[in-house]
Structure formats: C-alpha cells, structure tokens
Assembly symmetry: C2
Homo-oligomer: 248 residues x 2
C-alpha cells in the first residue's frame, strides 16, 4: 500500500472511531472523569492505538474533549440535547440541564424590511418589535437569537422578565392562546468573527443556524427568529417516520 | 458613540441583513443572475450601503454568494432543501433538484465495535456490513456517509446498484417491508482536513452532521448512519408543532 493510500486509510478509520466516540460522549456513555485509556479504546473499537489517538485529536478539534496532562482525555464540555420532536423554547427543552439566562442586547420597535413584513403577514411599514438576545446555559454562551415579533404580542414584552423566560411562554400568556406550528430551516455555517466573539467561540466555529417562523394556534404568524447555536454545545434530537404524519 | 460601540453596531446590523438575505437566496427569491445592486438592497433593508456591503461579505465567507467583477454579486451555489418532515433518502428528497450519484469508497463485512452492535440490537461479534459513500448532486460533492447495516439486509447490497440508488429504497425491497421510524441527531461541526478534502470543501468548513438509526416498520433497527453534509450545499426543512404528535 502506498503512502497516500495508507494515510487515507488511517484518516478513514479515525473518522469511523471518532463518530462512534462522539455519539457515546454526547449520550453520556462514559462516567464522569477521564475517558478510558487509549489501549482500552483501541480494544473496544478494534482499532490501532494510532487510530484512536487520531480520533481523539479530531474530537479535540471539535472542542468535545480535551487532553489533561497526567489525567488523560476528558470530556471538555457538555453538549446539550434540543428536542426536535415538538416546538420548544430553550429553557423548556433544557430544563433538566440547568438554568437558561438571556441577556437582552437590543430591544426596539422598528419599521421592518419587506422580507420580514412579508413573512409575518404584515402590511409594508407596519412596525414590529426587534429583539436580540445572547442566551446562556449555566452561564456559558449557547446561542445568539435575532427575533422579529408582531407588534401586539411583542410590545408587552418591554415590561416582561426576558432575562429568565423563554419568549414562547411569554407570547402564549400575552396572546391568550398556545402556539401552533413553526416552519423551520436548519443549516450549518461558520461563525463570522464578530459572532464568534459574542458567543465566545473559536474563530470560524461551526454554528447550527435555525430560522424559525412560529404561528399562534389560530394560524397567525407572530415570531420570526434567526438563531445561531454554538455547534459544540448543542445537538438537535428527534424522530422521523417513513410515512409522513399527514398520510397516516 | 465610541469607536467600539460603532463597530459593534455595524456588525450587528450586518448580521441582521445577512440573515434576511440568506433566507431570500436559499428560497430563490432573486431571479437568476446578479443580486440587486447594493443601493437597491440598502433601500430594501433600510440599511446603509456599508452595512449591505458587510452583509454580502459575510455571505461570501459562507460560500453562498460570490463577487464577479463587472457583474456584481451573484449566487455562488444552490443550497438544496432536505426534507425534515419524514424519513427520506437523499435522491428521494432532492429528486426535483438533480441527479444523486454515490461513489462507494468502502464496502465490507466487519465485526463491529460494541457501540455499533448495541445500537443495532445485535449480539457481540455478529458481523455487519460497513459501507462508505461519497454522495454527489449533479456531480458536486454533497455528503460523506458512513453506514452500518445488519447482515441479512446489508449483504444483498453487494450485488445492488449503489451508485444510482438510495439505500432506503434498496433496503425496503430486500426486507420486503417499508422502513418505519428513525432516531435522529443533528449537529454542526467543523470539517477535519481529511473530510474537507474528500468533500472538496474549504478548510474547517461547517458541516451538518447527522446520526440516524433507521428501523424497519416491524421495529427492528437495521441501518445506522453517520452523515456529513456540506453546510454550504444543504439545508434541512420541516415543521414543528407546539403540541407533540403523540399528545394529539
């Protein structure tokens, strides 16, 4: 086997091991403390120690594990599961994992661009509430949320405790009805330098970007959000059925 | 306003405009050819030309648009929508957008690590089929898929046309029953150098990483996949309900 083929094979093997390890780490397969030693992992994955070392290096690059001299490899930071099975606010979906706090960076009434008016079903020029929050879990930055709200449900938020509450819960209280359905687009993007700084993330860090238009139960769109989650701190989890819900 | 505050405000404004523009580009709001000129975009978004220029720079960094001298800013590459409303293979979900072809990098019977056996509900040491594919849409790399299949439905794939078929369709034919439900985990990760090279993506490009365990309709898990989508070529789209499906 040539040098190139050997390098490719090693990289391919490392990726396989890294994926299985990532899953185990994210799902808290390992007890607190260091991961098993390389030799044990090599045995478990039927891989060489070099492959395991390379897999751990890949996960270090992702910020999932870190190497502690004299201790071994430890899980660097928890990666939290965001439910993808129903429409949930951040504090709702992460309530088992700690306290969500929201730092309001901006909150103001604006005359929105046509792109926003259109999606919220508003006449051109009708004002909306624009809200920008840095959201933390247990004090660590998790997401930067840009939110456009129709005026009648958004304006009462100026007097609400936004620091300790999800918007969803507050909106439902204000509107006097539950939320209904949200349209959702998910993407992976590299953080621009300013966003990386705000989220305290590495340069060009992978972000899970969510665009979400939430409707009230009566069908009226009220809440348009652009959310940047730190990719190293959050996963989305759900189920898909081969038969679409509407065809059941 | 101090210099720092002004820079922050400019970056914040650019992010807002970039998010709205991204949405419009991904949803093909603009006709083919260059985007509207900066002055028109500035008017549309109620922003300064400097802000629009900065927003376009952010989208260039993401690989979504590019600047063509003498022409203006054009959409660099299509970003394709992957359905998140039901369990779909790649060719199924993208059939309107072109031809999916699959390059088989590896296909072999292996004795899997315990992490794989456990998820597929197999006894330790029971062999599985390991399959690795580079998947392209219209010739452009879209994803790198690592797949573990239980032997009885995986082994017949050695004789199947994997280049032109989704695994899902082939599995259903082999098993004589449809697929049922899949568990899904979504993450955003930075590409390691080797993966970036395989996907022909920039260094440390943001990838949408999907881990998916698909079951047959009878409930048996048969197909465990680790999929790395190029973040600049794919979005996931779906709906969420405030009331969980199971509570309806």
């Amino acid at each position: 086997m040539g040098h190139m083929a050997a390098a490719r094979r090693r990289a391919d093997r490392a990726r396989q091991v890294a994926d299985l390890l990532r899953r185990q780490i994210v799902h808290r397969h390992f007890a607190r403390g260091p991961l098993p030693p390389e030799a044990a992992l090599a045995h478990e994955f039927g891989a060489s120690r070099n492959t395991v070392r390379e897999a751990l290096r890949l996960l270090r690059e992702e910020g999932l594990v870190e190497r502690c001299p004299g201790v071994g490899t430890t899980v660097a930071a928890e990666k939290y599961p965001h439910g993808l099975h129903r429409l949930l606010g951040l504090a709702e979906t992460l309530h088992e994992h700690g306290e969500v706090t929201n730092q309001v960076r901006t909150m103001t009434l604006i005359e929105p661009p046509a792109a926003v008016s259109h999606r919220l079903g508003l006449a051109p020029g009708e004002p909306v509430v624009y809200l920008e929050r840095l959201r933390r879990l247990n004090g660590l930055p998790l997401s930067l949320d840009l939110t456009y709200l129709v005026r009648d449900v958004g304006e009462p938020l100026f007097d609400a405790d936004l620091e300790h509450n999800d918007i969803f819960v507050l909106l439902e209280r204000i509107a006097g009805q539950p939320l209904g359905v949200a349209e959702l687009t998910l993407e992976a993007v590299n953080a621009d330098p300013h966003t990386a700084a705000v989220l305290d993330a590495p340069r060009a860090a992978a972000l899970l970007m969510v665009e979400r238009l939430a409707h009230l139960a009566d069908g009226r769109p009220v809440d348009l959000e652009f959310i940047r989650f730190r990719g190293d701190r959050l996963t989305m989890r759900g189920h898909l059925s081969r038969i679409a819900e509407e065809d059941r």
